[in-house]
Amino acid sequence: MLVQILNGLVYGGLLYIVSVGLVLIFGLRRIVNFAHGSLFMLGAYVGFSVAAMGGFWGALLAAAIVLALVGALLDIAILQPLQREDPIVTVLVTFGLLLILEDFAQFVWGKDFLKSPVPTMFSGSVLIFGESFPVYRLVVIAVAALVALGLSVWLRLSKIGLYVRASSADPLTTAMQGVNTDRVSVIVVALGAALAGISGTISAPLLALSPSMGSYILIESFIVVVVGGLGSFAGAFIAAIVIGQVHNLGLVYVPWAATMIPFLLMVGVLIWRPTGIAGSHV
C-alpha cells in the first residue's frame, strides 16, 4: 500500500508541475492553453536528446531553458497579439499549435516510441518500511516538492511574484498602477512552459516518449486545474496530489474504471463546489 501511495505521489507531482504552468497562464491570459501538453512532450524529447551528452542535470537545465524560450515566443508572437480577440480564437490557435508541435516532434525524433534510461546516479532502489522503492521515483517526488516550495516562496516574497498574483486576479487594475502586465505575462508563460519542460524531462525515464504523449497528461492537467479551482495555485497542488492517488489506486484496484475515475472525481467536486476546491470562478 505504501508503494502505491508513493507511486501516486510521483504521478501527482508530475501532474502538479504541468498543471501549475496551466494555472499561471490561465490566471494572466484567461485562456486554456491546449499547446501546454506539447510543451511537456517537447521537454521530454529535449531532455532525452541532451541527457546522452549532458547528463540528467544538464538535460533538466536545457529543457527548462529551451522551453522557457518557446514559452516567451508563444506569448510574444501568439498570445499578446490575440489578447483583444475572443478567447475562443486563442484557444483554437493553441490547439493548432499542439498539432504543429506534435508533427514537429515526429519530424525530428520520429514516430517510434523512445525510452530514456534512468540516470545512473539515481538507479537502484531503497527499502522504505521494508518495501523496495526506486530511488528515481523518490527524486521525482523531491523535484515536485521543490517546485511547489520554490514557486510558493517566489509568488509570496518577490516583487514580480506580487505582480503575478495581482495580475492573475485583476490585470487591468494591476496595469493601472504602472505595472507592465505584458512583460509580466512573458515571464509567466515562459515559466509555465519551463515547468512543463522540467516535468517532461523528469518523466522521460518513467514513460515511453512519443509525439502524442502530451495529450494524455494535458487532459488530466485540465482536470487538476478545474478541480483545484481555475487560477488557484494551492487548489492545483491539492487536486494534483488527490488525482495522482486516485489515478494510481484506480490502476491497481479497479483497472477497468481507472481512466474514468478522475473525470468522475471532477464531476463530483463540481457538484459539491462549482468553483473547485479553492477557486472563485469556473
Binding site: L162, Y163, A175, M176, T181
Partner: protein, 232 residues
C-alpha cells in the same frame, strides 16, 4: 502651468459604439477639476480612454504633454496619472499591504511610501495584513486612494469616489483630498454627486450624452445646471 492630461477633439468608445464625441478637456499642474454628469453620460469612458480600454477613434490624448498611440494600460501611471477607479477594484487575493505595494510600481520618484500612506490613513496600518476586500466601503476607498498615491502621481483621478459612502465618510474624504491638493497633487474628480465636488474642485466640466456641454469655475455654476446635470 504644465499640462498633465489633455483631450483634444476626442471621439472614443467600445467596438463600433461611439460614447465620447469631440471632447476637449485639460488639467494642469496643481489644478482641482471636476467632470460632472448623470449616470451613463460617458464619464467613465473618459477614464477608459486615457487607460487605453476604450478605443480612440479620432482626436488626441496627451499624458503629461506626450501623445501615446495606442495607449497601453500602464502608461498613465508611469506618466504621473494615478486612478482611483469606480468601485475601487481592490484586488481580493491580496492583503491591504500587498494592494498598496503594487501601487509602488517602477518608473516614478518615491515621495510617497508605505509609511506615509499609513500615516495618512492609520486604519490601513492597523489592518495591513487583512485581505483588502475585508475592509468596509470607506476603508476600501482609503486603500484605493493610498494605492494610487503609491505611484507618486502628479494627477490623481477619482472616478465616482463618493459612490456608496456614508455622508460622514464623504466629509473625511473631502478633508483628505484637500490635504493632497494643498500638497500640490492635481485632482480630477469624476462625479454625479455635487456634495464632494463643491468642497474640493475649483473648475468643472459638465458631460451630457458624451459631449462637454458646459465648463467654467465652480463658483459660477448655476442651480439650474446642477439640477439638470448632477445629483445635489
Amino acid at each position: 502651468m504644465s499640462e498633465l492630461l489633455a483631450f483634444s477633439n476626442v471621439v472614443s468608445g467600445y467596438g463600433d459604439a461611439r460614447i465620447l464625441h469631440d471632447v476637449d478637456l485639460t488639467i494642469g499642474d496643481g489644478e482641482r477639476v471636476a467632470v460632472l454628469g448623470r449616470n451613463g453620460v460617458g464619464k467613465t469612458t473618459i477614464v477608459n480612454t486615457f487607460l487605453g480600454v476604450a478605443r480612440l477613434s479620432s482626436g488626441e490624448v496627451r499624458l503629461a504633454g506626450e501623445r501615446h498611440s495606442p495607449i497601453r494600460h500602464f502608461i498613465a501611471a508611469r506618466r504621473g496619472i494615478a486612478l482611483v477607479p469606480q468601485g475601487r477594484r481592490i484586488i481580493p487575493t491580496l492583503t491591504v499591504r500587498e494592494n498598496l505595494a503594487i501601487g509602488g510600481a517602477p518608473g516614478r520618484n518615491k515621495p510617497w511610501t508605505l509609511d506615509r500612506v499609513f500615516d495618512l490613513f492609520p486604519i490601513l496600518r492597523e489592518r495591513a495584513n487583512t485581505p483588502g476586500t475585508a475592509l468596509s466601503g470607506g476603508q476600501q476607498q482609503m486603500l484605493a486612494i493610498g494605492r494610487a498615491l503609491m505611484s507618486n502621481p502628479s494627477l490623481l483621478v477619482l472616478d465616482e469616489p463618493s459612490e456608496g459612502l456614508a455622508p460622514v465618510i464623504i466629509d473625511e474624504l473631502a478633508v483628505v483630498l484637500r490635504q493632497l491638493a494643498d500638497a500640490g497633487t492635481a485632482l480630477l474628480l469624476i462625479e454625479q454627486h455635487f456634495g464632494l465636488v463643491h468642497r474640493v474642485a475649483e473648475r468643472y466640466y459638465v458631460l451630457s450624452k458624451g459631449t462637454i456641454v458646459e465648463q467654467g469655475h465652480l463658483a459660477g455654476i448655476s442651480m439650474e445646471s446642477l439640477k439638470k446635470h448632477v445629483a445635489v
